[in-house]
Symmetry: C2
Subunit: 242 residues, 2 copies
Amino acid sequence: MTSTPSTANSIASTVKVLAFDTFGTVVDWHGSIVREMQALHPAVDGDAFALAWRASYQPAMARVMRGEQGWARLDELHRGILDGILPRFGLGHLSEQERRHLNRAWHRLRPWNDSVEGLTRLKSRFTISTLSNGNIGLLTNMAKNAGLPWDCILSAEVFRAYKPSPQTYLGVAEVFDLAPGQVALVAAHHEDLSAARACGLRTVYVERPLEFGGHHVKDVSPQAGNDLHCKDLRSLASALGC
Amino acid sequence: MTSTPSTANSIASTVKVLAFDTFGTVVDWHGSIVREMQALHPAVDGDAFALAWRASYQPAMARVMRGEQGWARLDELHRGILDGILPRFGLGHLSEQERRHLNRAWHRLRPWNDSVEGLTRLKSRFTISTLSNGNIGLLTNMAKNAGLPWDCILSAEVFRAYKPSPQTYLGVAEVFDLAPGQVALVAAHHEDLSAARACGLRTVYVERPLEFGGHHVKDVSPQAGNDLHCKDLRSLASALGC
């Protein structure tokens, strides 16, 4: 925790809702996909497969937001990307049932070690919600599987818009009848936090140096603008007096 | 529990998601509003006040669904009804702040005695969600206040339609990528259940004879068509093997 206690006190006293990015921030998508691939298709390079699947995530959502197709849930976008990359990894022969099972790997992502304890402590003082581009069913299944104690599942699907659209950040404040400054976004991605800040939300950066795996360690140095910079969700809970 | 064990077994083996009506089914709106009025305005007849506030609930939602006004959250509809009835009860002088506080009484509704235990047991085997005309913020605050352990908050607000619109019942199945028959609606109101059944959902009736208070005991005799008829949520959990 590199932020000052006074900033933490200001958040603790004014913020009512903590909205969490999930992929990478609360759950370890890379490690979980690698683990699924090791179990299902051990001959495939799981690290490369996970990165390839994730690489088309932003472009797929951007196409939806540019209106190039109707609204599509993230499950559908994940499936389209999966179908596209399977042949490249020698898995073009997978059946419909195998593809459906593999696509649901995103519903089975595992939390970082600190997530369940951190969220449980934060829930005692704040309303804790997802604010994820994952669809509601994906996030609910993930929470049930991983033991994530959300008060509420908010998602791009609720607002019919993907982050970083302002509709998503402002939508959280509207749902809870709060001013934007009474909501904080917690995320491991500076561009997400920057878009939230432009809408008037408070922002908390969480270090997740291993988001892309041990071979691609992420720069997690602090950037100006965030209200808090935390190592993990346990340290965020401690900083906010939970 | 007046239904046969074989029906209960069929539900336990095919249904994945239990969607719950909330007002009257999970929480005691009448008793809670009476209690709030006794504390805030003891000179007012709390029973008559609660019934008057609730009486305009269906007509207000029907106006939204007929397109006579834009989308409005239930909090707004409750507030409009409240402003309308206050003078009749000698409370036309209440300030904006007092009205806001009173309107949030719906966020503070208390659960029936069996609700928390029943839901907690059901959650071990099923995904449990609200399917309520209450808005997301109202339902989240209610859950946090009452200790209701929902996996997911689904609401008219998510589907931009009030029950009994088919969009709400079918929306639950779509969110979870299930067939309608893999979802059951649990409710204390036959018209809600009947509309869900017309969409292909399974239906569970819960007896709440005191929904309108001790002076207006409700007929809770079984009606044809429902898959299960239960005394309360504890007996539903037992019937479903939870």
